[in-house]
Symmetry: C2
Subunit: 224 residues, 2 copies
Amino acid sequence: MYKFIPMNSFTEENYLKAIYKLTEQTDSEVSTNSIAKKMSTKAATVTDMLKKLSLKKSIHYQKYQGVSLTTSGKKIAVNIIRKHRLWEFFLVKKLNFKWDQVHGIAEELEHIHSNELTEKLDRFLGFPKFDPHGDPIPDGDGKFHNTKSQLLEEAVLNKSYIITGVVDHSSSFLQYLDSAGIVLGKEIKVKERALYDKSLQAQLSGKKVFISNEVAKNILVSKK
Amino acid sequence: MYKFIPMNSFTEENYLKAIYKLTEQTDSEVSTNSIAKKMSTKAATVTDMLKKLSLKKSIHYQKYQGVSLTTSGKKIAVNIIRKHRLWEFFLVKKLNFKWDQVHGIAEELEHIHSNELTEKLDRFLGFPKFDPHGDPIPDGDGKFHNTKSQLLEEAVLNKSYIITGVVDHSSSFLQYLDSAGIVLGKEIKVKERALYDKSLQAQLSGKKVFISNEVAKNILVSKK
DNA sequence: ATAATTTTTTAGACTAATCTAAATTTTTAT
DNA sequence: ATAAAAATTTAGATTAGTCTAAAAAATTAT
């Protein structure tokens, strides 16, 4: 039996992605205002879109009560994230882009609709589990390959960690990490933590490095 | 000095591409109706878009007099075609799509805006000169690597040709060619042409094949 | 508990892309 | 050359996504 599946517009997809990410962060219903901020738009605009997404059964929405994704809305959002991260991997590993250059391009590529394309791309890339920023790439069923990572800020002194990801994805932060030689996969050991500003002295591939708290708060590590 | 370059919408890009292709075919001003047919839309809709494209200086347009592309409009159109064909090449050669599966996906990918992406993709693919259907891929300056090809329909008897392209790009035609073993790059020699229906008996990699005129009209060959 | 503040929704308007129906211009045919 | 036919444009609507301003609901603070 043939069932018509209405295609979501780029805009709808971006709203679902935003709601997904906000839900992840706060782990509860998300507010109209928070969506408006994330989407760089106005609350009134968001309200209109929420009505539409609700009609399409992509979200649970009650006036004034915030929203959450339905199972099908979540599926759509995770698929967008899957595509985004696969394309980022492609751009960095195959086309030699720098990790700070790919976000905007992947924001466009993530809306290409062919599922067959996504699956073939995944295979071509060797079924990568993490994107160039260390974020997990969900598989075709929406499952994430989870690793328990923590902030470098909270690392235990003199214990070895592997740098596995970043919190801040801005170009300027990523470029700073490049200039400081802080690269995903490297081993790091915090030797000292200043009480005053929580800045760190650490050992990074043999060299001593200084890392401010502002930076340490945005680096993810996992136990070696 | 900073100059604001207004981004073209997908729709505008598609109109420019359609006008480019129609101009190529007829080699003269193109009509509102022909654009409407190509875009599967109504003449009234086309008129509105022509006014808009004219304001943006992408086309030359005088009411009732047909349109042609300006230099800048042509540049935009050729760039879309460049991206379309590079992506088709990528899909077939890297992701293992069949040549009859890639058109629709490339129609989406051709609108990804990053020039750096196009150039890096081109390099990654080894600067291909032809797409999987044998159509030339313009270079970054919009120059086409031209080869003088002709229709198989008009091939001289007992002369060797190389199959270089197709006129009809439909899946059904491409699938038919696959099933008949007619593949780009192969050598073909027409042994007989029936006067009644212009069908051909030809030699294709050692085997004898029958090719109807309907098919021969849609195959491009070049002298060996 | 009620007043002040904040958040959210509604109302009304705008732009881009589309449509149908009617009007106009061009082309074709007698 | 003029009438008929075809092509094109205009006029007036529609939908998606957006906005501002005003109204309504929820939250916070006294």
